[in-house]
């Protein structure tokens, strides 16, 4: 019970921090600006999906019928995934680096609160903030795609957003671990970018290696499972993978803080 209360205390502190910090609003604003831009561009611009399909129809090219709404969603969420890859390290970089900088890690480490509780509370806080960033996109999609014919199943965007949320959780969790290793936010951000980059490469590497190792590596790839969910394929192995990454990040974070105390020499 105490642990639960501690997690909530940390969670609330983190959330309050986001909503009283101008930096968070800037990040949110830029994200909405860019995602809004992509939304409109992908949907309605001359190179956008609607016009592309329309052109194909006009030219009389024999193509299988296209579910425009579905294709749009797939493409849009794909772009959102890439955009998230840039935004997430910026959200996670300060999680522990700031605490070190302000000296408040010394407060947390000398209070009757476990490292686990702190890590979980922080991750919940940043994931909640990220949700606040992507929930409005659901609204946009509801408006734009509501008029689609054939109408799109509501589970499709929901599943896609769940995938985005879970993938973000995995990246934020690992980013949180990286943040716990340094007191400089910029170093944490750069290392997290590097990590994401290597994880993205993993899928390419996996494909070129092939065979069992390749298949195993591919299975670990965040992007692969994300695209699955975005396509509406719900596979429990995706869920398990994301949760594993999230738990791994929390575990590593707790360990790195704990090692401060246990490194007797």
């Amino acid at each position: 019970m105490i642990i639960f209360n501690n997690i909530i205390a940390i969670f609330r502190k983190e959330l309050q921090g986001y909503f009283t910090s101008p930096f968070a609003y800037v990040v949110m604003g830029i994200f909405w600006l860019l995602s809004g831009f992509f939304f409109v561009a992908i949907l309605m611009s001359p190179e956008g999906i609607i016009n592309q399909i329309a052109q194909r129809d006009q030219l009389g090219v024999p193509t299988p019928p296209v579910d425009v709404a579905y294709e749009f969603l797939r493409f849009f969420l794909g772009v959102m995934g890439s955009l998230a890859m840039f935004v997430l390290p910026i959200l996670s970089m300060g999680l522990y680096a700031d605490e070190r900088k302000w000296g408040t890690l010394e407060l947390l480490a000398t209070s009757p609160i476990t490292n686990w509780a702190v890590a979980v509370g922080k991750l919940l806080g940043v994931m909640t903030f990220f949700s606040a960033m992507i929930v409005p996109l659901l609204g946009l999609e509801a408006i734009a795609l509501g008029a689609a014919d054939p109408s799109i199943l509501v589970t499709v965007p929901l599943l896609g957003h769940l995938g985005l949320f879970l993938m973000a959780g995995a990246i934020l969790s690992l980013g949180m671990f990286i943040s716990s290793l340094t007191d400089k936010t910029i170093v944490a951000a750069i290392l997290t970018f590097a990590l994401i980059f290597s994880l993205s490469l993993m899928e390419l590497v996996a494909k070129s290696i092939g065979g069992n190792l390749g298949a195993a590596l591919e299975h670990l790839s965040l992007m692969k499972h994300y695209t699955n969910l975005v396509q509406g394929v719900f596979d429990t192995s995706s869920l398990v993978l994301f949760m594993s990454y999230i738990i791994l990040g929390i575990f590593l974070t707790a360990q790195s803080i704990e090692s401060l105390r246990f490194s007797r020499r």
Binding site: G103, P112, L260
Partner: protein, 329 residues
């Protein structure tokens, strides 16, 4: 909140912290009794902060043990953390929080029950003279105010043991007095260890003093004993008129007086003399001295006590240590 336990002592035994080949502290041992205030005195770099951090559980020691309220700081860290309030060298503050919000947060994570949080926060704001700043964001506070918030967070949960690392740093003289009075008011019900390099702090607030230099304990004792030991006792200086020799003879035979010498009267009017007296340790001959001079119908223009200040003790002990180490090398 934790109810007062019978054992609120701090016991440190053979504590060392080694970084590579260099030792920050070596073989530190001392005890702070329940309800006592111990001053941990040393120059910058002596190892005070390292010791405080080990006691608070933020740093692991390389060897030795430390126990707070009977719990080992390393292996029973959670129990220790529930019983301590800690002010690190730099007060741990969240810049974007308000003073009140921050203290509420600290009260929460220190385990203060929801019903008591508001009253504890109010009380502590009052005690640290922060009530009018309660709604201010911490990043807008001056250094002195931030320091007081730091002290507030160390006591908001009414811990039995309080660890303060340089509590009066950055404060102006009035605030320093307020903080010292606050610390003194906490004694008895709380066990306090405070580290400082400001000497008057120690003689004014602490029951006992541990002097640390270059990572090692030099001595532990009451401030008075240390000062008496060094000076060999206290003394007086008298400014009188008339023939000093007569008075010298009369004072010499008083009980508690070891030595009376007639000092040079440079700077005094021609008919005045300066007498220097050394008293035996523990003696209080002031009343007799005055009685003798006045009884002999002499003018007593000034009578002041002289004693080795803690500064003298400190310098003596820490430079002696320096000589010894340098000779060894």
């Amino acid at each position: 909140m934790i109810s007062t336990e019978p054992n609120q002592s701090i016991e440190v035994d053979g504590l060392s912290k080694i970084y590579g080949t260099k030792s920050a502290i070596k073989d530190i041992s001392f005890t702070v009794q329940t309800g006592e205030i111990l001053g941990f005195l040393g120059p910058n770099g002596a190892g005070k902060t390292t010791t405080m951090r080990i006691l608070a559980g933020y740093l692991p020691a390389s060897t030795g043990t430390a126990r707070i309220a009977g719990y080992d700081v390393h292996s029973e860290s959670m129990e220790v953390r529930q019983r301590i309030g800690y002010l690190p060298e730099n007060p741990p503050l969240y810049p974007e929080m308000t003073v009140e919000g921050f203290l509420h947060f600290v009260a929460k994570i220190k385990g203060v029950s929801p019903g008591q949080r508001s009253s504890r926060v109010d009380e502590v704001l009052e005690r640290c003279n922060l009530t009018e700043y309660r709604q201010l964001q911490i990043r807008k506070l001056s250094k002195g105010m931030k320091q007081r918030v730091g002290i507030a967070q160390a006591i908001v949960h009414d811990p039995p043991v309080i660890i303060l690392d340089e509590p009066t740093i950055g404060l102006d003289p009035k605030q320093i007095i307020d903080v010292r009075n606050l610390i003194k008011s906490l004694a008895g019900q709380h066990t306090i260890i405070l580290s400082t390099h400001i000497l008057p702090e120690v003689s004014m607030t602490c029951d006992r003093v541990t002097i640390i230099n270059r990572g090692k304990v030099v001595t532990t004792n009451t401030p008075e004993t240390l000062m008496a030991e060094l000076a060999g006792g206290t003394g007086y200086e008298l400014e009188i008129d008339g023939n000093p020799i007569e008075i010298q003879k009369m004072l010499q035979i008083l009980p508690g007086i070891c030595l009376v010498e007639v000092a040079s009267n440079y700077g005094l009017p021609g008919d005045r003399s300066l007498l220097r007296l050394v008293c035996s340790p523990g003696a209080e001959p002031g009343r007799d001295i005055a009685a003798v001079v006045v009884g002999a119908n002499r003018g007593l223009y000034e009578m002041r006590r002289t004693r080795a200040s803690l500064e003298d003790v400190f310098l003596d002990l820490t430079t002696k240590e320096l000589d010894v180490t340098e000779n060894k090398e």
